[in-house]
Amino acid sequence: MKKYTSIILALVVIVILVYLCRIKNLTTLNYPKYFPSVEYDLSKNPIDKDKIELGKMLFYDPVLSKNNQVSCASCHSSYNAFAHTDHKLSHGINDKIGNRNAPGLFNLLWQKEFMWDGAVNHLDMQALAPINSPIEMGESTRNLISKLQKTNYYPELFYSAFGDSIITTEYLLKSLSQFQLTLISSNSKYDSVIKGEAKFSDKEKRGHELFKNNCNSCHTEPMFTNYEYKKNGIKEDSILKDFGRYNITGNINDKYLFKVPSLRNLKYSYPYMHDGRFEKLQFVINHYSEINIDNNLIHLNNKEKVDLTAFLLTLNDKEFSLNKNHKFPLKLIEILYQ
């Protein structure tokens, strides 16, 4: 019996060690204290290094598209705060042109609904839209899972992340969420000022005051969005015929309402608006000071426009755009070009 006791003891020690290893892999997401409480329920998908790494691989892997040529990163580039710089509308499979401007991906931990019209109600489910869209990745979830299962590396990576080498949609979506949740942008000059580590110039300070009086009700600090749907005063494009939020709710009052985007990282996310019609920030500011939306006219003179722009530029997060942890994973380069 003594022999068995020692075997059992050894087993217990192994189980504890394995458990500790798993705990070591659990990690936390860091963000400033002045950020609001998070929207994503992390208890249902606890952050884990292996899951983040897997999510990053999937994010950069063109295997997600039908012809294995389009990845998430094709329209969401890390160097540009995960926006599609200089592209009015996103480009999809076989050079098909989409109908909306690809937004930057950051601070998704606080975002409740996704897409310009809020069509997607949870970060986990977001990836299903581009994967299955005939003009984005043109794939089917079922076929994608079977393609991943047949590779000689993904089953192992899913095993490391989820303890299961049988790949499922749930694992796929949860790991993609994990990587995207790590994309936290909180190191702009604005953040340094809030943290007391830097000071605004006089111009930026004046711009901040103008911002608080004219823009903050929708682009609410510190996330620079109130996550609501608002009219942007843009005339309907005769080809795109995009009714915005109305497409989802069917409520006539929601016609031409679009999600309020964050104003962080504007340097990288041009062109602006849901259809990318404004090439420059200056055009957006001119638009809002010329158009009357529901009796709200933001009237700014030229000097004020310059000041406001100076403030908006303090929201760019260079550190975020250069963050090495968010870049193309080396492991994937080895696999794709071996």
């Binding site: 997607v120 499922t168 749930e170 979506l173």
Partner: protein, 218 residues
């Protein structure tokens, strides 16, 4: 270890067998004209429309059993995907001794489940019961042809008010030892307007169809 193999292990096996013997099958029957629906069979509705069904899938959720208005069992699986092509999905295992005179369930997936992220099993989006362009489960999917070769597709779903399509179904039984649940689709196919042959998104039409379904089954 020997103790485990010689004594405990057989006991475990035996007990699992006992558990299985303790269950009985409650069979779901999907009927038109008092007969089980057969795929690609020709049916005629009261408007003399000939139609064939080639796909029938739907969710039932929160299945509860009652005896004299008192809840006696809540089925362990919250959502069940019923697929006419998957015979196993039509069998529900309940305790052998369960006596009930009423059941209730929802036809469809509740709002919370629709809003809380990635799920597996019957709720895996791979089952073709999830809209990818607009978050939400398809509660009920039926596809087929009518008047010769015209396609019809009804993907009924939507959980956001005022276009929520989840429907509460309540059924009473005379026998306390019932072993089948009959869902009648006669009224649904009789009242359906095949000229609106495609309803594939949430909205007013989906709500109308979900009400029609509930009336048909209830």
């Amino acid at each position: 270890m020997i103790v485990f193999y010689k004594f405990l292990f057989p006991l475990l096996l035996l007990s699992s067998n006992l558990i299985d013997n303790d269950k009985k099958e409650l069979v779901l029957e999907l009927n038109i004209n008092n007969k089980n629906i057969t795929l690609n069979n020709s049916y005629e509705n009261i408007n003399i429309n000939i139609f064939k069904i080639n796909k029938l899938k739907f969710y039932i959720s929160n299945l509860k059993f009652y005896l004299k208005d008192k809840e006696v069992l809540e089925y362990h699986k919250k959502h069940i995907l019923i697929d006419i092509e998957n015979e196993n999905s039509l069998k529900i295992l309940i305790p052998n001794k369960l006596r009930f005179d009423e059941i209730t369930f929802n036809l469809g997936v509740d709002e919370e489940t629709n809003k809380s992220g990635a799920k597996g099993g019957d709720l895996d989006p791979i089952n073709g019961m999830y809209w990818t362009w607009n978050s939400g489960y398809i509660n009920f999917k039926v596809e087929g042809i009518y008047k010769g070769s015209n396609d019809f597709s009804y993907h009924i779903g939507g959980f956001m008010k005022p276009y929520d399509t989840i429907q509460l179904i309540k059924m009473n039984f005379h026998s306390l030892n019932e072993n089948k649940i009959v869902l009648n689709f006669d009224e649904f196919f009789n009242k359906i307007d095949f000229s609106l042959s495609e309803i594939l998104s949430p909205g007013e039409n989906a709500v109308k169809l979900s009400t029609l379904l509930a009336n048909s089954i209830n």
